[in-house]
């Protein structure tokens, strides 16, 4: 069985997660319910004319993809696989608005063209002249997981491949207002950093994370062991899935040095994760991430980046720990346990593989 190595990553998120610097050393605090990405200067990737036509989801997607490929030392990947929960919301909103305002007349096609979900992955292909496999998944909070699973299967089929895979989602003014009307977010001015003190609500987030995976060993030393998604699973099904996941990898709960929990701030949805962390992983250091990246369909892609960084740097940053929690020493295995809306649960198991040949 071939191993799946992480050979490069690019991440744009509401924290500064690109460029040099210590992992999550400087944390950006927000007192609103909307966490927006800390974006790089895009002029290194696009000319001004291109930039004017591009929505943020496209800029973030192509830029984070480029960062990942550069880190992996790959000019053109063999496959590009993208996950996005909402797709290109900005262009969709622009076209819908014009459709209503102009009463279906004299419409500019550009936002329509750029509204389909596969625009992100196909723009990367177009920029790189990559004629290989190109795929886009959109399944709420399984979007990144679907992409990751496809990439893993591809490498199992052909270990020599270099696969670019990731998750991208943007917030727009419209999407934020609409989701807020559903009563999804915190309404007071609590800082995102205090999100889990009293489980008082969710903050909206966004982000773009691309990773390069390959069956060929690089000096990255981190492997993806497995990914699993469970739709509308009950407590028993989740416990069974955890046991299977660990068992299939020859691990037990105590081997999981760090558990990255996708608690969102919603008490009801978080309870099952917190209970499982307490009962099944009493020895693991529990870290959280949605106060840093916000809640969004591909938040697990942020967690993936975080988990790989922890394994690489062999240290768990304080910013993900609850007050008073002491981090365990360098974890060998990290389990990401994400949830979204209480209906979508997923697991990603990452493994340090320094010793393996």
């Amino acid at each position: 069985m071939s191993r799946i190595f992480v050979t490069g990553m690019g991440n744009i998120s509401p924290q500064k997660t690109w460029g040099d610097g210590t992992l999550l050393a400087e944390i950006t605090a927000y007192t609103t319910d909307r966490l927006s990405c800390v974006e790089p200067d895009y002029s290194q990737w696009f000319d001004p004319r291109q930039l004017r036509r591009m929505s943020r989801v496209l800029k973030m997607g192509v830029a984070s993809g480029s960062i990942a490929l550069k880190e992996a030392g790959i000019a053109v990947p063999d496959a590009i696989i993208t996950g996005t929960g909402y797709g290109c919301l900005e262009d969709t909103g622009i076209f819908l608005t014009k459709l209503v305002e102009n009463h279906e007349e004299a419409l500019n096609p550009t936002p329509f063209i750029q509204s389909t979900h596969n625009t992100i992955g196909s723009l990367i292909a177009l920029q790189l002249q990559c004629q290989g496999y190109n795929q886009t998944y959109t399944q709420d909070a399984f979007s990144f997981e679907s992409s990751l699973l496809d990439a893993i299967l591809m490498i199992k089929e052909e270990p020599a491949l270099n696969v670019l895979t990731g998750g991208v989602d943007e917030i727009t003014d419209y999407s934020h207002i609409i989701q807020r009307r559903f009563g999804k977010f915190t309404s007071d001015n609590t800082s995102n950093l205090d999100l889990f003190k009293n489980e008082n609500g969710i903050v909206n987030g966004e982000g773009s994370t691309y990773i390069v995976l390959s069956g060929a060993k690089k000096d990255y030393h981190v492997c993806v062991e497995s990914v699993a998604t469970l739709y509308k699973a009950d407590d028993a099904a989740l416990r069974k899935a955890i046991n299977e996941l660990l068992g299939n990898s020859g691990l037990t709960a105590k081997d999981i040095g760090c558990l990255l929990l996708g608690t969102s701030g919603n008490e009801r949805h978080d309870k099952v994760l917190l209970d499982h962390a307490d009962q099944l992983f009493p020895q693991s250091t529990v870290g959280r991430y949605k106060h840093l990246c916000g809640e969004h369909p591909v938040a697990s892609a942020f967690a993936f980046w975080l988990g790989v960084k922890i394994l690489q740097e062999q240290t768990i940053p304080g910013a993900i720990l609850m007050p008073g929690v002491q981090a365990a020493s360098a974890p060998e295995n990290i389990l990401i346990y994400n949830q979204y809306g209480g209906t979508h649960h997923s697991f990603i198991l990452l493994k340090s593989c320094r010793d393996s040949g």
Binding site: N118, C130, Q131
Partner: protein
Amino acid sequence: MKGSVHVAGIGAITAIGNSVDECMRSFRQHTSGIGSITLFDSIHRGVLPVGEVKATNETLAANVGQPEYISRTALLGIQAAREAVASAGIDIAKWRTGLISATTVGGMDRTENFFPDFLQDNKKGKLHDVVNHACGRSTELIADDLGIHHFISTINTACSSSVNAIAYGTRLINHGMLDIVVAGGSDALSKFTLNGFNSLMILDREPCRPFDASRKGLNLGEGAGFVVIVSQRVLEQEKKKSLAVVAGYGNTNDAYHQTASSPEGRGSYAAMQKALAMSGLSLEAIDYINLHGTGTLNNDASEGTAVKRFFGEHLPKLSSTKAFTGHTLGASGGIEAVFSVLALTQQCVFPNLRFETAMPEVDIVPQQKFEETTVNHVMSNSFGFGGNCSSIIFSK
């Protein structure tokens, strides 16, 4: 790859029929489903022909026992997916069953109703009109209806989406992760797509004429098509008949332009090449190609060139069924997969309606009559915006 992945059931709802049998009858009778817009308001009503499914949301909702507001994409999907599962005659709850659906518009038909009020005042607009906006929601609604929890996924690679859904399902079965996959796609007509394609000036004001010299564009359609694919083990244990085998598939990117295909059809050529290589078949073995054949100047010239370059002397019988159904976008690969399986089970090829004169760019004369003939291997092409090209081969 272990064993074969078989098609055990099919379901479809399109402008030419609310079931597989009805679609088949329309093919035999050369009855097109293209007509005027009747189901929604638009300034293009009476001007731009479309391929509407002949059922209102109310009727569809009543048929499947779901609320009308859940989005037409979901209603069409539920109807076709149920038909596919019923025709397979397998209790899918007994097996590790997944649903992989494809859609490009998702709940857009409801979102566009929400927007006029919302733009006036952002506290207005009925929230139940946007709750199912996301493409993945239509899949979840279909999964809930079929009782599928084990695995769900949605693909949106524009008009090639459904073929990718069937290919992904086949891979998941081959990797031993799933036993059964309900795979295909669903897309409803919407003002959003109608106006989008209109703004690109690629909609024909007459019923479309794929691969014809006089073609002026496509007609949008709607519908859903699903296949139930199963492992060899499921087929044997359930003692079911294989309708077809998924023999090969290819997914490539043209990487030429965001909407236009390269003149030589390099992406579509590569997709056909990959699919054929995986199938292990020779060029001559392909008996019929269900073309993407949208009826736009660009697609048909590019696809025709690629087909001609690829098959050379061995051009099989070929046709686009979009003159019957319209272009059903993300659903087209699923619907045309159902038609491809029908070509194998019914031993027939479908007519390319309204064809008169071959394109000057490439000399291809498609099948013009419904014909009963020997069909052992069928190729189906689906290409989309963003250069996404996919091709799939079904064998007897």
